[in-house]
Subunit: 470 residues, 2 copies
């Protein structure tokens, strides 16, 4: 059996590191900042991918695959873009036994490559909108790696679209932000706040970056993904032009948007407890684990028959019967609690004598005897209820942590325990002050309830959220 | 409309290059040897992935993700492995703005990384078998790239397993070979021949490499994938040890196996004709295209209602109604024939007056009037029949191309039009002679019908297949 987990309420970072390892979500790799995503972690990622891929396709996007390696000169075409990414790039200088004439960058994101290709494909307004998505690995050299949350190589989808009008592109960026919010709240059970990024935090080369921010139990914000209104800067940089309906040459308006394996980290941190992972039913690779309990071969036959029968009644759910004869039922309870399986069904001869089984939920709300004939419908309802409960539990916590403060001093005073809403004038100078306190503006809100900036006397400030972050 | 395709019977390579582009399967990228896989090509790859992923999971393997970048020193641990791959490697020398202390290789395959991790995970016989698969991109610097068939970056699954006994590992390598054969024949409709690779062709570091070979219309072989019995060489190189049931320290027996985006190229080349792609129904991203034909708004309403009704009757199939008002029906026929859609349903007012629609198949076998009420069951049968017909058509061709020859001279004489079965002693010297004639041993067969080697006097030679190859 594994070592006891650190107390999550006292030391979230250590708990996080340890649960990632103990639940076999990931392992350190021999390459700085890179992890190996183990099968259980990958199953969670595949759950998330499946849901998001369907949303992307159902909203009219098509998947494609662009090259991993990008000519270094492409990055230099968009001035802000190269400035933002240059310090993080991994560079291939040699290949096929020779020094390359031009170094190749291992993509940190694919705007430059995609836009180069878009410029070949887009000729007329009939080619628009062009709505492409790619599931890919990207590399950004990382100085302070943390499994899933911040790794040198990570995995994501990156959407890239081109539109005839500013309005259409803007609608697209917001549409995808909405899909992300739905994914986070209704599948991952993580309440998020959406809004624009400040000038200091937006994507290098974007006009507007929209973000969906989660807030962890330690009151740190986690940027869970972004959707960018790129406008026309990249179109100009890559000479992407089209003939509009009136026959005039025009530049398309672009968007890009991405969500990453970081979502797995968000899931772990948002819902975990001192027993380990707690996974929302819609994402859990195993939704129900059945633990057969027996001592004699006769009991085993009886118990296994009922286990198989219950599993057969739930074909649409992910049900595992744990038949490992090397482990005691107690070991199995521990094993699957650590791995966050939402519902456990215990089947033993004593319960079966009353035609019952015992059903326990991972939230620790109820451990109940349920009639064998009712267990299928009971657990189906229970999974729906667990999904909801997890979301509202996280939302209640988030609401309790979010406080209103008007001055920098007051913000700093609560930064270890709270996220803060405050007023912000929009100036980079005021934003820069926050960095000195390891704080940042997480997103700008479409409200103006404060009136004055937290750092200067400017009136007509917008509301924003300030917090420490991952 | 696109340019006319080159004649496939006269110039397969040009036809291939042109259809890849015209059917929008892929496009050249600005990086040498790399392609962009466009949505239609990616849809085909996703079809293949879905089928293969299910086979892999159903046979007890789990997906995981290993790092893209591998320390250069890892490659040097297995002598044959580094010798085989060194000329093809792309090397990251700089990252995060600095020269790296140790260069990192962009993985050409992941044995070294996976085995390093296996050595951490495997301690006892209880940890075996360990059966892992990864869907990934790999990079091998390519001097003569050809879309899908041979590209610098390509996409694949690579399976890696560890077993307690030689027998188990051997069974695993053959099990996966069987799955690949099933994928090729029963889904891609491509007949393949399976067998072992010769010493000159096997995977660097493997004891035995099994291959499944397809044979193209120009009588060139295409290695469609391989399954390797690695035995213990890598286990020794990475000090992967376990305690066996008797408490003794032992080295596990390893396998690896992979299939790539090359399968898309095999599909295109095997089945295509002068009208373009011909896709087997089980793989086709669109299985049935419905082309509505109308001139008046009244007819349009009538025709579209029937189109929607038929589509609704086929929820389990991939059906597209082509509603593009910019194109004539003739343009649409051309467009979807080029893209290989197996079945086309034409719905027009004249047929509808008789409560009929017209159904055509991509093989050009039948164009028939079918009653509206019967079209769903008719096309379902038709798709099954097309799938079979495509396989047997390809098999007949392969059989006609495969001839028996006893001497090198006779083999060389037919090499432009035939694959050859012949006898082979197993010596690298005899194998090397073939290279001078741009021929190679594609696989060794478990038969001995020739008795003598094609190149020397050695008796007890095994049968093998010799051909030119992609």
């Amino acid at each position: 059996m594994s070592q006891k987990l650190p107390d999550i309420t006292k030391n979230l970072p250590e708990w996080y590191q340890e649960i990632i390892y103990q639940a076999e979500l990931a392992d350190q790799s021999p390459v700085r900042g890179c992890i190996v995503i183990r099968p259980y972690g990958n199953d969670i990622w595949e759950s998330i991918k499946g849901i998001l891929d369907k949303k992307i396709k159902d909203s009219g996007h098509k998947n494609a695959i662009f090259p991993l390696l990008i000519p270094e000169s492409f990055f230099k075409k968009e001035a802000q873009h190269v400035e933002g990414f240059a310090p993080e790039l991994a560079i291939v200088t040699h290949a096929g036994g020779k020094l390359l004439a031009e170094p190749l960058v291992v993509r940190p994101t694919s705007e430059t490559m995609v836009h180069y290709m878009f410029a070949q494909w887009i000729r007329s307004w009939r080619d628009l909108p062009l709505k492409i998505n790619q599931w890919a690995n990207v590399v950004r050299w990382e100085m302070r790696p943390r499994a899933f949350l911040r790794t040198t190589e990570f995995f994501w989808q990156e959407g890239h679209t081109a539109h005839a009008t500013h309005q259409e592109a803007s609608d697209e960026a917001l549409l995808m932000l909405g899909h992300y919010k739905d994914l986070a709240e209704n599948y991952l059970a993580i309440p998020v706040i959406t809004g624009r990024k400040s000038e200091g935090e937006k994507f290098p080369g974007a006009d507007i970056t929209y973000t969906f921010e989660g807030f962890m139990p330690d009151a740190k914000a986690l940027q869970m993904g972004t959707s960018h209104m790129l406008s026309q800067s990249f179109a100009h940089a890559f000479e992407m032009k089209f003939q509009d309906k009136e026959g005039k040459v025009a530049y398309p308006f672009l968007t890009s948007w991405g969500a990453t394996t970081r979502l797995v980290g968000a899931l772990v941190m948002t819902h975990g407890d001192n027993k380990g992972l707690v996974l929302p039913p819609k994402i859990a690779p195993i939704q129900i684990v059945i633990v057969p309990i027996y001592k004699t071969e006769e009991d085993k036959a009886l118990v296994m028959a009922v286990a198989e029968k219950i599993k057969a009644q739930l074909p649409e759910l992910r049900v595992l019967i744990d038949t490992d004869d090397q482990k005691t039922p107690g070991n199995k309870f521990y094993h699957w609690e650590l791995r966050g399986v939402p519902v456990r069904i215990e089947i033993g001869p004593r319960d079966l004598a009353n035609n019952q089984v015992t059903v326990a939920d991972r939230l620790g709300i109820a451990k109940t005897q349920v009639l064998v004939d009712e267990v299928a419908s009971y657990t189906k309802e229970q999974l729906i209820s667990i999904q909801k409960t997890m979301f509202y539990k996280a939302l209640d916590r988030q609401k309790a942590q979010m406080v209103r403060k008007e001055t920098l001093e007051d913000i700093v005073a609560v930064k270890e325990t709270n996220m803060v809403t405050t007023g912000f004038c929009g100036a980079r100078a005021c934003e820069a002050v926050l960095k000195q306190h390891t704080l940042s503006i997480r997103c700008l809100l479409d409200e103006t309830t404060f009136g004055t900036c937290f750092n200067c006397d400017t009136k007509n400030a917008s509301d924003c959220i300030v917090a420490r972050s991952y």
